[in-house]
Every structure is written in C-alpha cells, then in structure tokens.
Symmetry: C2
Subunit: 355 residues, 2 copies
C-alpha cells in the first residue's frame, strides 16, 4: 500500500535490506542496457562474449536471480505443475496414507529432473473439478491428480474442458482423461490367487469398490475365485474407506462378525495393518488362522507385524510416467491411459505355502 518509492534506495547507504535486485540494477552497474543483460543472462550469442561473461559474473556476485513472474508473463510460459491430493471432506483427514505421500515424492523428483516446479495442494475429494483452478488461474500449466476417488464423472468433464490433466488411478471404460496407474486387475488377481493357493477358501475383500482402482482389484479378486471354482460372497466384502480414522471401526466390526474367514485381500497396506490388529483383537492369529495380503508395498511394509505380503506398486516409476504423460499432453500428443505392471511381494502375513 504505502510503498511508492520509485528509484530511491540506491547503492550508497548500508541498509539496502529491502528491494530485490533486478535487471536494471545490474545493467547500470555493468554499464549496458537491460536488453543486453537479458540477452547475456539467457546465453544469447548476439552479445559479445566478453560482455556476456562480465554481466554473468556481476549477476552471480550480486546474487541476482531473475524474476520469474515477469519472465513468465512476458514469455507466456510457465514451468509449474500442480499436484493435487484429494482429502476426505467428511473426516477432513489429512494427506497421510504413506502410499500417496510416496507418489508425491516420486513426482517431485520427476518434475525437478525436468526443470519444473511443483505446486502441492489438496482438494475436497467430492469436488475434484476444483483442481482445475490451478490451470485456470495460470498458476500451473497442468494438473496431476492423485487418485480418482468417487468422481470419475468430474474427471471426464475436466478432460472435456481441455484441462491438461493426468490422474493416478485405474483405467475405466469410456474414460476421457489420461490416467496412469498400476495394473489393478492383475494386483487383485495375484493377491487372491496366492491366498487360494495356500488352501484358503473363505477369502474376504476389504476396500471401497466405488473407487475405480478398488473396483478393478475386485475384478481380479472375482476372476481368481472363478479360476478356483468359487464365486464371490457379498458377505465377505467390506467397503472400507482408505482413511484409517473411519476404517478402524468398520474393520473391527467386520472382523469380529466374520469368524469364518481364513484370508483377506486388503486394498492398502494401512488397511491390512488395521485388519491384522482387528483379527488379533478377535482372537485370531495372522497368518495361521487368517492370511492377509496388503496393497501398495509401502516402504514400511517389510517392518510391520508380521511383515506384509503385498502387491507392489511401481511408485518409483510412477512419478516419471505421470509427468511424461502430462508433458506429452501439453506437446499435443494424444496420450492414452497407461497401466503399469505390479507384482506380489511375499512376506509373512501370507507366506509361501512351504513357510
């Protein structure tokens, strides 16, 4: 408000705490015009090598860095990508699932490697469409959304509006947006098939099939059951959400009620952990009485009690895939959804039959 001092606060005094250095300053000091400084700093060969060096040195010694806001405005360019993590509005649960956090880290690396900045934010999982704000406002050139949640429809609509968008999640029929994700059907299949190979026959499935990824995993689950001549029993399915706060009670109730199950496929490692606790609370041991398979293979999965047998998701590669998909889209490429391989990591919660 009250800061209209234009040119003042020069180089004389000792208290230049405030104004940020800009091109005109280094231009003056170097005795050239701002254009020359601009060119020099951008390594243009239109400027004398000696001058270029002098300007560069001066800039470095003064610790000058360019004002990207101005540069971007002028160039109509932007190197920022918005990464948006949905949160559960009801519980207002924070970003906390280790898997989502890992994906974010992976994206951060991929963006950094390519010279992009990452704007991280959260959005109400019921209003995924609000994520387009980052693009609309020019703050980001595109959006990477972590998870589809319950709003496939909103995502399709965003894609229809030509929002540069990539979503971590499963590939659904008639999908307009670009998704990148693990092979969920395969994951569900491998997990279930393994449990059946252990001789288990009452295999429960824990996860909210309203979410595309879970729906697909359930497809794999059903398919594996069919291979073994079994059909899915609705009584063995529990639509628990990913948020531990909400899931805990639900899972406890389920485990206490279903004393007949001998195996569980969980849709995240955190759910698997909760399930194991609930099973023990109801007097059963894991894996002896009930074998449990998790999903994600989070970094800590190997250090749980017992170490989790789980479906490994390709987190390390995920970041690069998501970023490449987005940049490809911006280059005008018509990138379709991408499904990445997953595999079953065997540990103690559902060990190899011999173990």
């Amino acid at each position: 408000m009250a800061k209209s001092k234009k040119t003042a606060e020069g180089s004389e005094g000792g208290g230049a705490e405030q104004r940020r250095l800009q091109m005109v300053d280094i231009a003056r000091l170097a005795g050239v015009s701002v254009s020359t400084v601009s060119r020099a700093l951008n390594g243009s060969d239109l400027v004398n090598a000696e001058t270029r060096q002098r300007v560069a040195d001066l800039a470095r010694s003064l610790n000058y860095s360019i004002n990207f806001g101005a540069r971007n405005l002028r160039l109509q360019e932007n190197k920022t990508v918005a990464v948006v993590v949905p949160f559960d509005a009801a519980s207002r649960q924070h970003i906390s699932d280790p898997f989502f956090l890992s994906i974010v880290g992976s994206i951060a690396d991929a963006l950094t490697d390519r010279g992009y900045d990452m704007l991280l934010s959260r959005v109400d999982a019921e209003r995924l469409d609000l994520a387009s704000h980052w693009f609309d406002s020019g703050k980001a050139i595109g959006v990477i959304l972590i998870g589809q949640w319950r709003h496939h429809d909103q995502l399709n609509e965003m894609a229809a509006r030509k929002l540069p968008l990539v979503v971590w999640g499963g590939e659904m029929p008639q999908q307009l947006y670009c998704s990148v994700g693990g092979d969920n059907v395969l994951g569900g299949l491998l997990a279930t098939r393994h449990l059946l190979s252990l001789g288990r026959r009452r295999v429960a499935f824990i996860g909210d099939a309203n979410l595309p990824e879970v729906w697909l995993r359930r497809e794999g689950y059903v398919q594996a059951l069919a291979e073994a001549g079994l059909t899915a029993d609705p009584a063995l399915e529990l639509p628990a959400p990913f948020e531990p706060g909400v899931a805990t009670g639900v899972v406890q109730g389920f485990c206490a009620a279903r004393q007949d199950i001998d195996a569980v496929v969980c849709c995240s490692d955190v759910l698997a952990l909760l399930t194991i606790q609930a099973l023990r609370a109801s007097g059963r041991s894991v894996p002896q009485d009930v074998a449990v398979v998790g999903y994600d293979d989070m970094p800590l999965a190997a250090y749980c009690d017992p170490p989790l047998t789980t479906v490994h998701q390709p987190v390390a590669e995920a970041g690069a895939e998501l970023v490449e998909a987005l940049l490809g889209q911006l280059r005008g490429e018509r990138a379709g959804p991408r499904t990445m391989p997953v595999y079953l990591k065997l540990r103690q919660s559902a060990p190899q039959s011999g173990a």
Copy 2:
C-alpha cells in the same frame, strides 16, 4: 515461439480451444472497460453495484479466473511459500521418511487455511543455502526448510542475508535463523529415563549427533544417564543416518557387535524398526532382551512389530507453527525459535514395567 496471433480467434468459431480468457474479453462482453472489470472482480465499491454483479456473473459463467502472474507482478505481491525437503546427495535418497512427509502434509494444511500456495521441492542436504533460490527468484515469499541437517552454518548465513526463513529443527546456541521444533532434549530425556526405569543399564543411542536435533536428544540421553548415576559410554553410541538405505548395514553391524546392550534409544521410528530387525537377526527378542524406543510417533508406529514406544512429535501443530513463524517474520516481527512439547507414547517395544 510461433504464436503471435494477437487479437484473433474471437467468439465466432467453435474451436476456441487455446487462448485463456482474460479481463479484456469479459470487459468487451460486459460492455465496460477493463478497469471496471478489475474493480468489480476485486469488490471495489467504486463500481455500481448492478455493474459489479453483472461482471461477476459473466466472469463466473465463463469460468474466468484471473491471471495471478500478472496480478502479482503489478501488485508486487505473492502468496506462495516454498517448502524444501533436503535429500542426501550421496545416496540420492528420495523424500521418504514418514515423519518428514507428515510435516509436509501439516504445512500444506496450514498454508491452505491461510490462503497461501505451497511450492514443494528438494535440495541437496549439503547445500541448504540453495533453498534461497525460491525467494531470490521471486517465486516464493519465503522458505520453510524441513530439518537442519549438517549445515547450521549455511542456515545462519541465509538468515544473515535476510532471507525469510523458518527451519524445522532444534534450537542451537547462537542461532540467527528462526527454528520451530519439538523439545529434543526432553525427548531424549524421557526416552532414556523410561528405559532406565525399566531396570536397563546398557542403553545404546542410535542417531547422528552431527545433526542438531540428534545432538540435543543426546543431551537428554546423557542427562538421564547422569540422573541414574551413569555416564555415557561412547561404545554404545552409533552415528547412523536417517536414510534407511545407508542405515541398515550400519545398524546391523552395531547390533551384531554389541551383544551387551539391553536397551536402545533410536532417533527415528524408522531407525527403531531397523534396529529391531537387526536385534532379532542377532538372536535377541524385543522388548525382553532389548527394549527399544523410537522417535517421531509416525502414524504407523502403533502397527509395527512390536508396536513402538516412541517420543511423540507434535506434527499436527507443527505446520501451523512453522507457517505462523514465517508470516510473522514477513510482517517484521522478530520471532525467536520455538520449542514445542513432546511426550513419550508407551507401547510394546519398551512397555511399562508392569506389562
């Protein structure tokens, strides 16, 4: 490069996929000047209420959002904060410790609540000073750094350069920068005192005391030992880093070599997990033979094997504290370091004596 089409691509055709809507567009459609649109959208009462409404409606129906780059440039203002997570250059370990990730989530919430954006990035832990780039380049109004690591000196220098900076970490003597952190001395004290109260006498300490936070925790460790009439035995201290990749081998070697220890204070929950694994590998049980206390109380600490007794850090409050400290600094307040209380969360890895 090849996009100099100025005014064209108007309202006629059907293929207006490209150019982003701007004030001049809605001005034209509303039949007013851009100044009026600007004022209307900013709720200035200099504009006729009816006009203001009409403009607002039009903007909303067209899904217009303002270009913040331009706005910020004009207003010399910026609502973006850089959050920087150091990474280990040697191992190129990703952001992965659950504790750091939790802190980031907490900061994200705090910033969102206050209407700020968060730019997330990583920096080489040996060159923390590079984090100032976000400020220097005008991309962010300040920097929140997660952890002090080995470069207290660089942080002091950054603060001396008047960089708006807040660091998660411990309070060190002669510190020029603003830090916010848990009470590390107290944490170390509580952990050690508890183990001693269990009758343990050979208490190891695992953590790299070159890091200020660890150094302070060790102070508490030494203090608790002194209370019990003991002195720290250098042979019981292991300077293991936080990165699991590097730490694993070091911890295994230590546990195999030191068969005499009966308790361990670890400087993170992940280190505690690694330690427990290593102890078991060398034939000892936890907590019977060796009791283990972790640090952080990460979300999964309760679900490990065994559930971890650990020093609880105030993650949920941390975000707000860090953000407030930074904003205070920007308002010119001379905010000193802030130390937040911690407490010991008792679980099975070092249970209450009765258990």
